[in-house]
């Protein structure tokens, strides 16, 4: 394709209008802003944007990039951006409780049989005998902040193994990696495309899979402001339609490999525009491929997993005990999974 995005959108929009095709009811070329982090798990938005799925849904999307999930959640709450994908965290639940945000769909999931998040041991701890999650008792587990998804995963693994662990808040992924490399923390859990190169370099060792403990863990969710979820139903539906098409393209190319290696290559090239863009394609490709995890078809939401997470955050007193699932999730948009 030699056309640029804007030309493509006008062309498609114009063609659709001229042909009087089944265009979405309310939101013709409506301008919205979608927040994203430069992670493969946000590929649904990238693909929908690049391939014009958002435009097909009648939306003129602007992507806005963030360095961390926290400011993105606040940007949604303040109405600076409309939709985004992020992990469930204490902060997200607090914002939902304040009536600022709502989870409307699911994205990244753990799925048995597909390479998911890994449990890592530092080289020093591994040599001292931390070769399996069973031996995590008394160890130090890294996390960004209390109430982050790392905190949740670590706690769940520890609970399953009856291990008592200490959690070290280190704010940033880079700092956690540094602490793991220098043996300041013993263990951590992280997405495969970060875990695998660390294991390969010898700085850390993979000692287990998160999916063994949290088989259908709904890692990231699609969320928006409570106002969009309640008042802008058409626009929200249109966004999810476009986003789901992107997700479907991603799963087909990267997991089902329906178009073979060429399909993978083409998809990697597309994602590379957004992820690891500072590295040459040949270096970025393995990382992008390593990071492949299932994105929920149709942005389906595993409410059972969300409920488990909510309960855990409440049991740790990280969020108020009176936050309900209704307050956190709007299930009217997508299919829900209860497993």
């Amino acid at each position: 394709m030699t056309m640029n995005r804007r030309e493509a959108i006008t062309l498609i929009g114009g063609a659709a209008a001229a042909a009087g095709l089944a265009t979405p009811a309310l939101s013709q070329n409506r301008k919205i802003t979608v927040g994203a982090l430069r992670f493969t798990s946000h590929s649904g938005s990238f693909i929908a944007f690049e391939r014009g799925h958002f435009a097909d849904a009648g939306l003129d999307v602007e992507l806005k990039f963030f360095q961390a999930a926290q400011p993105m959640a606040i940007a949604i709450a303040s109405g600076s951006i409309d939709y985004a994908v992020t992990a469930v965290s204490g902060g997200l639940i607090s914002l939902a409780q304040k009536g600022a945000v709502k989870v409307i769909g699911g994205a990244l999931s753990e799925e048995p049989g597909i390479d998911g998040q890994k449990i890592l041991a530092s080289d020093a701890a591994f040599k001292a005998g931390l070769t399996s999650p069973k031996k995590l008792d008394g160890k130090i587990f890294g996390m960004s902040t209390a109430g982050s998804s790392f905190h949740y995963m670590g706690s769940k693994v520890a609970a399953a193994e009856g291990a008592a662990m200490k959690f070290k808040p280190l704010q940033k992924v880079g700092a956690i990696i540094g602490a793991l490399k220098s043996g300041q923390i013993d263990a951590w859990s992280i997405v495969p495309h970060i875990a695998k190169p660390l294991a390969k370099s010898g700085a850390a060792h993979i000692i287990g899979n998160v999916s063994d403990y949290l088989p259908n863990y709904q890692i990231t969710t699609v969320f928006t402001s409570a106002n969009n979820a309640a008042e802008q139903k058409a626009m929200t539906g249109d966004f999810l339609t476009g986003f789901s098409k992107g997700v479907a393209d991603y799963n087909a190319a990267m997991i089902a490999r329906s178009a073979g290696q060429d399909g993978v290559d083409e998809m990697v090239r597309l994602i590379h525009k957004y992820v690891y863009a500072d590295r040459p394609l040949e270096k970025a490709a393995p990382s992008i491929i390593n990071g492949t995890m299932r994105l929920n078809e149709g942005a389906a939401l595993n409410v059972a997993s969300i409920e488990d997470q909510l309960k855990w955050f409440q049991s740790e007193a990280l969020v108020d005990a009176d936050v309900t699932m209704d307050r956190l999730v709007d299930t009217s948009y997508v299919k829900t999974i209860r497993a």
């Binding site: 914002l95 109430g147 982050s148 200490k166 070290k168 808040p169």
Partner: protein, 269 residues
């Protein structure tokens, strides 16, 4: 009136010497606080200010009371105070030492002043990961960060203070044949004390700022860790409770220095 001649008209000389003299009104400062907090309370109670923008001051107070009743206040305060005390003591002691050396010896001044000038503007927070590698993730790196942050301003304040010691007093000491040690101990150090103490005021405020930064990495307890956790959970009540604790800590430290100044510098006019 009519008897008065034009040249004899008596007129009051208008007063024009007012203003430009700071007068202490203590209660106004307090009133500003009370009014602002009162406005915030009314705004949040009435719903004019959304709970996303600002927490209710009464809820912040409640959070603080809960924190106190649960005993968690001390769990968080104790490590923070230790970090502040150890870090600031280290930084200030070293800073005063180096500052005095710079003030006394021209070679050390020539060597150190550019170095200090180079270190001063480095945001110490940026060096935190490096400190973790050098000093480990536990207390040592936190002490080091706070110490480093208080060190440079103390050095600058100290050698400035030493430079400002009245030269005639030093000449007097020499003219009476006082030993070098006596001149330093009995004339230069006490003479530099006002400058050193006002430098400490700034250094300690910086220490409190750096406390939050120091507790970013690997601190489970501490006021800074508490604030950061509240921030990541978007729990505004806790965030504000933590910030209020830091403010109170600042006010407390400043008044402690004020008391020390009044005692040590009671000779000042």
């Amino acid at each position: 009136m009519s008897e008065e001649q034009e040249t004899d008209i008596a007129r009051q000389v208008a007063f024009r010497g007012g203003g430009f003299a700071p007068t202490p009104y203590r209660w106004i400062g307090l009133a500003v606080f009370v009014v602002l907090i009162g406005l915030a309370e009314i705004g949040t109670q009435s719903g004019f200010i959304s709970p996303l923008t600002l927490p209710k001051p009464s809820d912040v107070l409640l959070t603080f009371v809960e924190l106190y009743n649960s005993g968690l206040l001390w769990t968080h305060l104790a490590p923070s105070l230790t970090r502040l005390a150890v870090g600031a003591a280290l930084g200030a002691t070293l800073g005063i030492g180096v500052g005095v050396l710079i003030g006394l010896f021209s070679y050390i001044r020539a060597g150190m002043v550019p170095l200090i000038a180079a270190i001063f503007p480095i945001p110490k927070i940026a060096l935190l990961p490096l400190f973790v590698i050098w000093f480990g993730i536990d207390e040592a790196s936190k002490y080091a960060l706070i110490a480093f942050g208080t060190f440079t301003p103390t050095v600058v304040a100290t050698y400035g203070a030493v430079d400002n010691v009245d030269r005639t007093l030093i000449r007097m000491g020499q003219s009476f044949g006082l030993s070098w040690k006596s001149i330093v101990r009995k004339i230069i150090l006490p003479g530099a004390m006002p400058g050193i103490l006002s430098g400490l005021r700034i250094s300690l405020a910086i220490a409190i700022i750096l406390l939050v930064a120091a507790e970013m990495l690997g601190a489970e307890h501490g006021i800074g860790a508490y604030i950061l956790e509240a921030g990541s959970l978007y729990n505004l009540e806790r965030l504000f409770a933590g910030v209020v604790i830091l403010s109170l800590l600042g006010v407390l430290l400043s008044s402690v220095i004020g008391a020390i100044e009044r005692y040590v510098l009671r000779w000042r006019t």
